[in-house]
Amino acid sequence: MREVVVLSGKGGTGKTSIVGAFAALAQHKILADCDVDAADLHLILRPELKEKHEFWSGQTAFIDRGVCTECGLCRDVCRFQAIDNWIVDPVSCEGCGFCYHVCPVQAITMQENLAGHWFLSETRYGPLVHARLDIAQENSGKLVAMVRKQARKVAESEEASYIISDGPPGIGCPVISSLSGTDLALLVTEPSLSGIHDLERILDVCQHFGITTMVCINKYDINEDNTRRIERYCLTQGVEVAARIPFDNVITEAMVHGVPVVDYTDNGVTHELERLWKLVETRLNRKSK
């Protein structure tokens, strides 16, 4: 079983539309949405919920005002400025428990956080594991790890060939969690200076963790000079540019209709996506030999 994660650094370059297309094109696969704070893949795959599980992670300090002597030690030791007026701000609290350990009168308890939920769903293209981190919660990296773990479990029991993951934007905690140990990262970029800047950073991260990468340039015809710049950059980095997808409103139209673009129409965009999936599949299988 091989795993590909679709990442981009910059948001809004088309990760989810591409994963939606792969969902329709690939055989024997499990889908995973690793963007746990703004998940969108379900809007294209329209899953039917099968299982909903609570995700408990991290702790928050709570001060019992009846016991508290207002000595101020907790406030002094807290490095996250989470304690003010003997009340813990749950948004600032990182759950380290320093205050709990030092309180001389044991007025502080640490309470478990219900940080979100993860779901197992069925779609017309196969099983989907996805999640929702509650707003203002930490530990998005841990929830991503949970999504991937569950996706692997389902893939093993169904003897699936591939796990296709939709990754989060950025380069921080959830991104690192979504790419560690994966077989291939497909980096989606667009030919804008912001897109190029962010591609360079996400590629650095992938190289830092020793992950094999391929690049897909979306909306390549918006600025063909920049597209050539990306291609030259990828050449110097030894990274394959696997596809150039033209700008086309059909991608948004398909999204409005809640279907993968390859099931919505048959044109240049869909042909390029079909070619891209074939290439990704070839690379995934080559690596396993």
Binding site: S8, G9, K10, G11, G12, T13, T16, V36, D37, A38, D40, L43, G58, Q59, V77, R79, F80, V91, E94, G95, C96, G97, F98, H101, V102, L133, I135, A136, Q137, E138, S140, G141, P168, P169, G170, I171, G172, C173, V175, I176, E190, P191, S192, L193, S194, G195, H197, D198, R201, D204, V205, H208, I222, N223, N226, N249, T252, M255, V256, G258
Partner: protein, 288 residues
């Protein structure tokens, strides 16, 4: 006044709005632009500031003096992040898991744990003419963006209109960037993804008790559900930016809209005036 520019969904035009708003207000007022998208900062591409100051951001991580250590295991027991493990007569510290809370060094009965700084990013500040500019950059391979964001926000000048460019999403980096703002502009696009993530972003601002308004970018694609949602939920649409090849072209070249299509300057000043009105109304209604 602090105005943050956020979105939920990535790539909707936060940086477009933040940079053009800052440039437009620069003639009217003292402006500071802070890029808190420290994972993928892009505002500098459009602003091209002269960077005059560069400071590294570090977090304190534990160093164990094994001459003093008795391998009692207390540090490993109390660490909420499993960043320390004691195996027989060895102490292993996993710096990438450490949040730098300092509990282990404080509580170690042998005083065997000291702290050393681990660099996780940089904060750079500078100027573009009268406008001051600050951005943070998380080092590649580092997971924790929040300490870098905090450092950027320490630079907020209270007498300026501080405009904060926020990263996408709704989790800790976004919360850290938006909190303490007077107003939050939510940038979205009129698509199902844009709407889904706008709803989450609105919930985020409500949780933080920050008033918000919406800018719809690329009007002309998608459908009418974003506008309907704003209307139903009494959220003001502050500005609409059409899907336009010239705007897209300028953006792709890293060029500010207001410099090349100067009529947009008034639109962005108008956006600021609308925010002022909303805040004024808000303060009047709380006084009643």
């Amino acid at each position: 006044m602090i105005i943050s520019v956020a979105s939920g969904k990535g790539g909707t035009g936060k940086t477009l709005v933040a940079t053009n708003l800052a440039l437009s207000l620069n003639d009217v007022s003292k402006v500071q632009l802070l890029d808190c998208d420290v994972e993928e900062p892009n505002a500098h591409i459009f602003i091209e500031p002269v960077i005059t100051r560069r400071e590294t951001v570090s977090i304190p991580v534990p160093v164990v003096d094994e001459d003093k250590c008795t391998y009692c295991g207390l540090c490993a027991e109390i660490c909420a992040y499993n960043a320390i493990t004691v195996i027989k007569e060895h102490v292993l510290v996993f710096h990438e898991l450490c949040h730098g809370c300092g509990a282990c060094s404080y509580l170690c009965p042998e005083r065997a744990i000291s702290e050393q700084k681990k660099e996780i990013g940089v904060v750079e500040s500078g100027q573009l003419g009268e406008m001051s500019f600050v951005h943070g950059k998380l080092n590649v391979g580092q997971a924790m963006a929040v300490p870098v964001i905090k450092k950027v926000k320490e630079k907020i000048e209270p007498d300026a209109i501080a405009i904060i460019d926020v990263s996408p999403g709704t989790s800790c980096p976004v919360i850290e960037s938006i909190k303490d703002s007077d107003f939050c502009i939510l940038v979205t696009e009129p698509t199902p993804f844009g709407l889904n993530d706008l709803v989450l972003a609105v919930e985020t601002t409500r949780k933080l008790n920050v008033p918000c308004g919406v800018v719809i970018n690329r009007v002309g694609i998608g459908d009418g559900r974003v506008k309907a949602y704003c209307q139903e939920n009494n959220i003001k649409v502050l500005l609409e930016i059409p899907l336009d090849t010239t705007i897209a072209r300028l953006y792709s070249e890293g060029l500010p809209l207001v410099t090349y299509m100067s009529s947009w300057r008034e639109e962005f000043v108008g956006l600021y005036r609308l925010i002022q009105e909303r805040l004024h109304e808000g303060s009047r209604s709380t006084k009643r």
